[in-house]
Structures are given as C-alpha cells and as structure tokens.
C-alpha cells in the first residue's frame, strides 16, 4: 500500500454530493431569476424570456465546467407567442448553439416534451430530478445526465429549468475521488444503472445486478435519500450521496 491518504466511503459519498450540489445551486439561482421575472410578468412571451435564459445559459456553457447544456422549457400554453417552447443552449465541438426544437405539434418530428422523464418527474413531484444516465437523442445526442427543477409561481408549474452534463465529464470528475478510497465503488442512480465504477468491467450505463439492490435503492426513487442505508447479501454497502438521487455501492 503506497497510498498515504485514503478517503472513507462516507467521505466519498459526501464529496460526490458536493460536486453535484454545485450544479443544483447554479440551477436554483436560475430558477429564482425566472420565478421573479414570471411573477412580475402577467403575460410572459418567448421574446422577453429567451434573452433572460440566454444570459445565464451562455456563460455557464462557455465556462469549461461540467455543464454541456442549459436552459428553460416552458409549460405548454404559458407563453402567449409560443404554445410549446424550449429555450435551451448546447455546447459542442463547434461552439455554443441553440437547440433547434420542433415546436409545431402537427409536425412529424414534434415530441411532446411533457412525456419525457426530465419534464414528467419534476412536474409530478414538484422537486428537482436527475434523469439518466441516458442517451439524450432530443438535445445533446450523447450520453447524458439531465438535472431539472420546476419553475412555479403560486403553486402553478410554469416550466422546468436545468442543465445537461455529459457522463464522460462527470466520470472524469468523480472517478479520482472514488479511487482514493482504495475500495471497489460504483455510483448508481435510483434504478441501479451505473454512472461510473472503479471496476473496469463495470461499464457506465450497465445495470448493477445485485440481490437486494433494487429494494435498497427504493428511497432514492421515492426522493427520500436519507432513508438509504443497507448492507446487501453480498456484503456490499449502499450509501446515498447527499440528496443527489445517486448512491454509492461499496464492496462487491
């Protein structure tokens, strides 16, 4: 053993949470901004809202951090000049571009975004949701985690605001922390899908199939991460990463 400083699994969970919490805080600030605007504007329009979204999305994307997509998606009917509206920007190899969304419901390519997980879940629960990892073929066209938070005024849902994060980048950020524990660790979402793992055979995107894991992750799916605490039959421990809806599976 040459490593001098090792991190306990609990500190790894806490550090993972800190990384993701940074994104949550960013999104929450955007939500506050939008809510303030929407409270003051009785009949909001895409024309007035888009510049506000662009003003926070562009710098976030230009900054070479975790964020690869950012924006606001309006509740259908919210805006008087656009029934369906996505104000979403993406960073790619060719610079930052606005997502070209089909907002005409009669079009063949139109997708009702209210049926997609990143809309459906926060709309139903009223709290933020982490979608993925998944292949986001609507926006980034890549392997992505999408974080969305409801924007609501007076209890009425007006839209969701959020970011896309490429799983590659998340892995680059989190894997060194996990390795520092010296133990085999996998980060999984509430469904048991692997975000990343120290075991090279455990691929991001695969399902971690361990007896009792589905049950152990149930509190994550119910948005009550504080209840996660389990030792599986295999001897592996399951630890929630703060309130990020991700968990560590430690040991094998």
């Amino acid at each position: 053993m040459t490593s001098t400083a090792t991190l306990s699994p609990l500190s790894v969970a806490a550090r993972v949470a800190v990384t993701i919490d940074g994104l949550f805080a960013t999104i929450d600030a955007w939500r506050d901004l939008l809510q303030a605007h929407l409270e003051a504007a009785p009949t909001p329009t895409a024309a007035t809202l888009d510049p506000i979204v662009e003003a926070f999305a562009m710098p976030a994307l230009a900054d070479d951090g975790l964020i690869t997509g950012a924006g606001f998606v309006a509740a259908p009917g919210l805006l008087s000049d656009a029934q369906w509206h996505l104000a979403w920007w993406l960073a790619g190899t060719r610079g930052i571009r606005r997502l070209a969304a089909i907002d005409d419901p009669s079009s063949e390519q139109f997708r009702d975004y209210t049926s997609l997980e990143w809309w459906r879940l926060p709309a139903r629960t009223g709290v933020r949701h982490v979608t993925g990892p998944y292949v986001d073929y609507v926006c980034t066209d890549d392997y992505t985690v999408t974080i969305t938070t409801p924007v609501a005024v007076g209890g009425r849902l007006l839209g969701v605001v959020g970011t896309d994060v490429l799983v590659d980048r998340l892995e680059r950020e989190l894997l060194p922390l996990m390795r520092a524990s010296g133990e085999p660790i996998a980060i999984v979402n509430g469904l048991g899908r692997v975000v990343t793992a120290t075991d090279s055979r455990l691929e991001p995107g695969s399902m971690l199939r361990l007896d009792g894991l589905t049950e152990a992750l149930e509190p994550l799916r119910a948005a009550e991460p504080a209840r996660v605490e389990a030792r599986l039959a295999s001897g592996a421990d399951v630890l929630a990463c703060g309130d990020t809806s991700l968990a560590l599976v430690v040991g094998s």
């Binding site: 079009s107 063949e108 990892p133 998944y134 292949v135 066209d141 469904l191 991001p204």
Partner: protein, 258 residues
C-alpha cells in the same frame, strides 16, 4: 502504381465530393417522396416552408426549393398561394403505387438484402444490449409505444415501429447505435418497411414488439436479437417477392401476353 489503392481513392473521392447542388436536392426529394409514399406524411398535410425545410435539413434554400419543385412536378405536392398557403401533400393512390413500383424495382435483390442486413445488424445489436441494460421504467416506455400504436394505417404502423426501435437503441445506452438507428430509419426505413401497407404485416409488427419486450423483460439478449432480426427478414422477404411479382408482370406486358 496508383491504381493499387484504387478502392481507397474511390472512398476518398466520396469524402470530398461536393455536397451542394443537384445531388442534395435529389436526396431531399427522395426523402420526402419516401415519406409520402409510405404514408408517414399524410394526404393534405402541410409541409414545412422552404426556409424551415432548408434549416431543419441543413441545406441551402435553393436546394429545398428545387426539391419541392421536383415533388410538385411528380404530383406529390400541391402549392397554394395566399394567407393559408403552402405546400400540401397530395396522396394520389395511382401515382403513389407507380412511385412504389419504381422504387422497389430500382434496387437489385442484392441491394435489398444488404439493406435488411444492415438494419438487422444495428437494430438486432441494440435489442441484444438493451435486454441487458433495460430498467423497469424502460420496459414501461416500450409498452406504452405499443399501446399507442395506430395499426390501422401504414404510416401509423411505421411510426410505431420507428419509435420502438429508436427507444430500444436508446435503452442500449449507446449514443452510436442511436445515431446509426436514426440515420438508417430515414435511409432504409421507407423501403424496408413497405410491407406495412398490408394489415397482416402491421399485426405481425405488433406481435414482434411483444416478443422483443418479453425478451428484454426476461434479460434474454439472444431472444431479443432474434425477434428483432426475424421482423427485418420477413420485411425483406415481402420486398423481394413484391419486386419479382412486379418484374414478372412487366415482362408479360412486354411480351404482349397481357
């Protein structure tokens, strides 16, 4: 000698072939024709404007205009001027049948077989990997595509088939398979799934969806692959039979038997 690498040079020349001009307008025209003939774009449906079309397809405005003109010349769209104007699909059964015939006969058996093989490779692998990687939520979303499928029309059945295969590719968690699936759907889909014009094949496409879902639920990758491929094979068989039937009747006409 330079010819020793002839095939490589041919591949290179394709890479650097100009993308603009007549070739592109034909591609756009072919894609829209396929969508109209196969029923994905419905009779009377308004097409996007020239500028929207050029933007969404990433081609020059003049290219989109040329493509629409080509469709107009072949009687597949009609243009109305004025406030409620635009280009509208005109689905004339006779002209659509002629179009289908020339499309099927325009490909050799070898090309059709190759197309089906390519689709099988991508969709089959996606289904195989999806069977290992699907969550309970994923299975629910596959079921809902089946439940919402409109099997009463060819277009409805093809939309359901396309959405299902795209979702399966997404469940495989592979961005490359998803991109290839999207590309293949626009390239091969209109031709390969022509059998969906017949109710029998629309029903069997639903049955095949059920088999794929069952295999994914049972975490049985080989069965998911096999069920996906057998559907593509059945579509190919129909296509080749149809091609031979059309050719045989053309031969008879030529020989003056009919």
């Amino acid at each position: 000698m330079p010819n020793a690498t002839g095939h490589q040079d041919a591949a290179r020349s394709v890479v650097f072939a100009p993308l603009d001009g007549a070739g592109r307008a034909e591609l756009v025209e072919q894609r829209l024709t396929d969508a109209i003939v196969s029923g994905v774009l419905r009779d009377g449906e308004r097409l996007p404007s020239e500028s929207d079309l050029s933007r969404s397809l990433g081609v020059a405005l003049v290219t989109a205009r040329d493509a629409l003109e080509g469709l107009r010349d072949r009687g597949l769209v009609r243009t109305r001027r004025g406030r409620d104007g635009g280009s509208f699909v005109t689905y004339d059964r006779d002209s659509a049948a002629r179009m289908l015939e020339s499309r099927v006969r325009g490909h050799s058996r070898i090309e059709l077989r190759d197309l089906a093989l390519h689709v099988s490779a991508i969709a089959g692998t996606a289904a195989e990997i999806a069977a290992d990687r699907a969550s309970q939520d994923d299975i629910e979303s596959l079921l809902s595509i089946g439940a919402n499928a409109d099997l009463s029309t060819a277009g409805g059945a093809r939309r359901a088939l396309g959405r299902f295969q795209l979702e399966v590719a997404a469940i495989s968690q592979s961005p490359r398979l998803v991109r290839e699936e999207v590309r293949l759907q626009s390239e091969a889909g209109p031709l390969l799934w022509l059998c969906l014009r017949e109710q029998e094949y629309r029903d069997s496409s639903a049955a095949s969806r059920t088999r794929v879902i069952e295999a994914i639920r049972a975490v049985d990758p080989p069965a998911a692959r096999a069920a996906t491929i057998s559907q593509a094979t059945a579509a190919l068989d129909w296509l080749v039979r149809e091609k031979m039937r059309l050719e045989a009747s053309a031969d008879l006409t030529r020989q003056g038997v009919r």
